[in-house]
Symmetry: C2
Subunit: 178 residues, 2 copies
């Protein structure tokens, strides 16, 4: 929902894209290029912004009955996949977020009884995050709504397109992350 949005098209002057073969040509005198890749990429960027917002909202709504939010099931999912527990900065590294952001989430989740901080034999101050029984229960309930949701949203999408898109997103992450 971006460059071709109907709300915008109504009031927009169509960019005068001049195509010459596969290349592009400067337009509107500002020296910029309306190359297909540029347009595609910027549209993809705006679409990722939009999709991110929708996924957060969807994730919140989907799990509101479980005492979870999008931010929480990101954490609970990572912790559930770990065997020996993870430290808060460890969770942050997996999710690619700041440790402070994760710390704030885990503190609330600990207060809510979903996780506990257990002593870490490897580190005196940096405790291990583990799921409580309530947390494990919440994780299983999460799976019960999240799995059908995932399948529902992909049932008419070829697996090759999912793979291509995931590969592209991963490549962009890798490029921007360094």
């Amino acid at each position: 929902m971006a460059l071709n949005d109907p709300n915008l098209q109504r009031v927009v002057t169509r960019p005068t894209v001049v195509r010459v073969g596969n290349s592009a040509v400067p337009v509107s005198g500002n020296g910029s290029l309306h190359s297909p890749k540029r347009m595609l990429f910027l549209d993809l960027v705006l679409s990722v912004f939009r999709l991110n917002g929708l996924l957060v909202a969807e994730g919140d709504a989907m799990t509101e009955g479980l005492g979870l939010t999008s931010a929480r099931w990101k954490v609970i999912g990572v912790v559930a996949l770990s065997t020996a527990g993870l430290t808060v900065p460890g969770i942050a590294r997996v999710l690619g977020q700041s440790r402070q952001a994760v710390q704030r989430i885990t503190d609330v989740m600990a207060k809510d009884g979903l996780i506990t901080y257990e002593p870490n034999p490897k580190h005196k101050r940096s405790l291990l995050v583990l799921l409580t029984e309530e947390g494990k229960s919440a994780y299983h309930e999460l799976r019960e709504v999240q799995d059908p949701w995932a399948l529902r949203n992909t049932e008419d999408i070829p697996i090759e397109e999912l793979e291509t898109s995931l590969r592209l997103v991963r490549r962009l992450i890798q490029r921007l992350d360094k």
Copy 2:
């Protein structure tokens, strides 16, 4: 950077995925399915979260010298593409955001002299957002850094992959937006 993250793999038990032909089989006794599509989709969701954060950071860094941020060039880009101006709720509809969020951004941008609120012949209270000369200048400077950035980030990516990914993201947006 998610389900196959090295930080996580070190401490994770590999899920015992049992494949039968193209279908999947319940594992670990909780009735959940490790179907390929489910894994792909959840990985894509987490990757979109991650990419969103990186794009915001990249967009902020790229335009910090222009008095812009990611949130601002989203707005300035939409306004620049419009001919007769857009109202704040109109911008919000194009971007798929709340009008309140956009209003806060535009208020600051107006105070910074990038945009102005002009009378709207169609509506007494809902003013039109237009770029000032300073705003147009900022938009052109934005293009000068954003266009090479877009081309740089896609130079080794086949255009077909960009199209496939954009189409998938758009399809997900359309599904989640209704």
